[in-house]
């Protein structure tokens, strides 16, 4: 196992907040508020990160080399204040992929134990 793989493995499993941040950044670089909105949307409003949790995670993701600052610029959709943008690093992409695979394996297991419908099948509704 090479050193990078070891570094990736040592980070898993990620906290839900960290994984959601990586998911948001997998769609392209974003600033803090952009990440927050993306996370709220993709979880149907269930996971609402506060600024503290968001930036604690960002700080540690930066330290671990998973994300990096890309730029400081205004967001045309908001106002003309400068915001810091973040993006995934190559290591970050590997971490996100490894975590997704890890979750996929869990889902597979859940299917095997009939906790979830078979892949491709419509979700079970009612007593059918």
């Amino acid at each position: 196992m090479d050193e990078v793989t070891q570094r990736v493995e040592a980070l898993l499993p990620l906290t839900p907040a960290a994984f959601q941040i990586l998911l948001a950044l997998a769609g392209g670089e974003r600033h803090g508020y952009g990440i927050l909105r993306e996370v709220a949307e993709s979880t149907g409003g269930k996971l609402r990160l506060g600024p503290g949790t968001l930036y604690r995670s960002i700080k540690q993701l930066l330290e671990a080399g998973i994300i990096e600052e890309s730029d400081e610029r205004p967001d045309p959709a908001l106002d003309d204040e400068r915001r810091r943008y973040y993006r995934l690093t190559a290591l970050g992409e590997r971490v996100a992929r490894a975590e997704a695979e890890h979750l996929a394996r869990l889902v597979e297991k859940a299917r095997a134990r009939r906790l979830l419908p078979e892949a491709g099948a419509a979700p079970v509704r009612g007593g059918a």
């Binding site: 909105r37 503290g52 700080k59 003309d80």
Partner: protein, 297 residues
């Protein structure tokens, strides 16, 4: 850019209030991310008010206060936020407090060592196991860590351990080092701290308020937290930078201030003492004394 929404003043007020609350975070974290956090909160307020009107600020505030309490506590403790696995802590050179707590569990090797020490030394010594940190019984790497320490600095380590024991803490962090420095009383650091208005009782109360008291008296060695190790390393590099061939109490104080993230640094910060203030105070004491701490010891 003009934007139409009711409750604009509520958004501005919320943003100002939140900015003030950011004081709950460690200074270094606040300096790095405070502006961004305030901006994110203000953006959230704006969106909430535009979409659902001013009452939407109430749940937003409740959620944010909860987030503030949890994340500020986590940041002071330095606990990992991105990985659920402990190994991650090792990767980044940090350890969770919980891991420290686990040391309380029975360890046959440690018990044997303590028994041996009890046989080999007088009971007086056994009461202060602090000696084991840097005395002849110390593990080699711990002894290495303290090479070049002045007698006074060693005394501070011993006092710091007593402070940790007094609070029933199972580890020795920068906060205990700070208490040790104040308690020592005569060293350059103690004098500088006195000049800065930091006194023992108040500092003790703050430390106890922030981390609380352990459940029962710790047994055996009290190890340094990763942060305290960093403080010791920074102290050594402060000494080196100043061309001092020893590590004195003043360097330990500067180490705590330089590291900046520990509870010890937080307490200093409450007195308005950062690296610059500490450096200046140490300089003043050294000038007044006409020589550094290591001179006589």
């Amino acid at each position: 850019m003009p934007r139409r929404f009711g409750g604009g003043h509520l958004v501005a007020l919320s943003a100002r209030l939140y900015r003030a609350l950011l004081l709950a975070y460690p200074p270094r974290f606040r300096r790095a991310f405070g502006d961004e956090m305030a901006r994110v909160f203000r953006d959230s307020c704006r969106e909430a008010v535009t979409r659902r009107g001013p009452p939407a600020l109430v749940p937003l505030w409740l959620g944010t206060l909860r987030d503030l309490a949890i994340s500020a506590a986590g940041e002071w403790r330095g606990s990992p936020a991105i990985s659920q696995r402990r190994a991650h802590a090792i990767l980044r050179g940090r350890t969770r407090r919980r891991q420290m707590m686990r040391r309380r569990n029975f360890d046959p090797f440690d018990a044997l060592r303590r028994f041996w020490r009890g046989v080999a030394r007088s009971p007086r010594r056994r009461v202060a196991p602090s000696v084991a940190l840097y005395g002849p019984g110390a593990r080699l790497n711990e002894r290495d860590r303290f090479t070049g320490f002045t007698e006074r600095a060693r005394l501070v380590l011993s006092l710091s351990q007593q402070e940790a024991q007094r609070l029933h803490h199972t580890h020795m962090g920068a906060e205990h080092l700070l208490l040790g420095l104040i308690r020592e009383g005569d060293g350059v650091a103690a004098q500088a701290l006195r000049a800065l208005g930091v006194d023992l009782d108040a500092a003790r109360t703050r430390v106890e308020f922030i981390i609380g008291r352990g459940d029962h008296e710790g047994t055996g060695d009290i190890g340094l937290t990763p942060r305290a190790k960093q403080v010791v390393e920074l102290a050594a590099s402060e000494a080196h930078r100043r061309g001092h061939h020893y590590v004195g109490t003043e360097h330990l104080l500067l180490g705590i201030a330089d590291e900046g993230q520990s509870i010890g640094a937080g307490v200093l910060h409450e007195y308005g003492v950062g690296p610059d203030e500490a450096g200046a105070a140490v300089e003043r004491v050294l000038r007044g004394r006409g020589g550094p701490d290591g001179a006589g010891t």
